[in-house]
Assembly symmetry: C2
Homo-oligomer: 148 residues x 2
């Protein structure tokens, strides 16, 4: 499991904007992936976090969670976000944490669909918190395509 | 008008992730703001543009357009995105261009609401194109708060 997580860290490190945002993997438990980033490199004109950094943290958490789960299931696949709905609830004025969570059922369903089809999609809910408060949330749909 | 556009360029330059993404103001005509970014600094693990860069380009174009229009109208206000719906239609494999557009009517309505209220919101449609093809679109709602 550790090597899969190392792979994810390497993938994040290869995305330059994610490097600038200093997005780090803070924890992974199979059904939950947590990313963190400091406020300083993500600050906007108002001294709070740039909306683009917030959406990047959210979309990467969902993408990372599905990617990790698929690798653990031994499935070679590309994961791409296809749709997202984001709510920016309050300004982020300190370090931030994005959390993607998935239940066993939708993931099992994804695996089942991929056993019969080349491609399947899955919806993930992701939240972003700062100083304990919910600051943003995203519902994102990812398309998973098997790689031969 | 040029000094307002220069202000916007300075605001973008102050956001570190936008600098890494090399987001530039390519054109502004009052009802339309166009931003560009090269693919290279925004590349992901699949050799296409990182979803976080795409959403940043979209959300900044809408934010920039409202900010410019308000300054031209002589209104001191903070502009903050509150909601967005994004569709990622196809991978971006070359330099990209995001375009925010606004009609006179919703902007006039915003100005009217701000003459009576401290705060008002406006919806903007933004698209992102690469090699002439529509690659992503966003419907974003921004909250405008007067600054005293």
């Amino acid at each position: 499991m550790k090597s899969t997580l190392q792979t994810l860290k390497a993938l994040f490190a290869a995305i330059k904007p994610a490097q600038t945002m200093q997005i780090r993997v803070a924890g992974y438990s199979g059904d939950r992936l947590e990313l963190t980033a400091p406020l300083a490199p993500n600050i906007n004109d108002k001294g709070s976090a740039f909306a683009g950094s917030i959406s990047s943290m959210l979309v990467l958490a969902g993408w990372g969670l599905i990617t990790l789960r698929l690798r653990e299931a031994g499935i070679q696949a590309d994961v791409v976000v296809s749709k997202s709905e984001t709510e920016y609830k309050r300004p982020v004025r300190a370090d931030m944490r994005s959390i993607a969570e998935i239940n066993a059922k939708p993931f099992d369903q994804l695996i089942e669909e991929l056993s019969e089809n080349q491609r399947a999609s899955i919806q993930i809910a992701i939240t972003l918190r700062s100083t304990g408060q919910l600051c943003a949330s995203m519902a994102a749909q990812y398309v998973v395509s098997k790689v031969h």
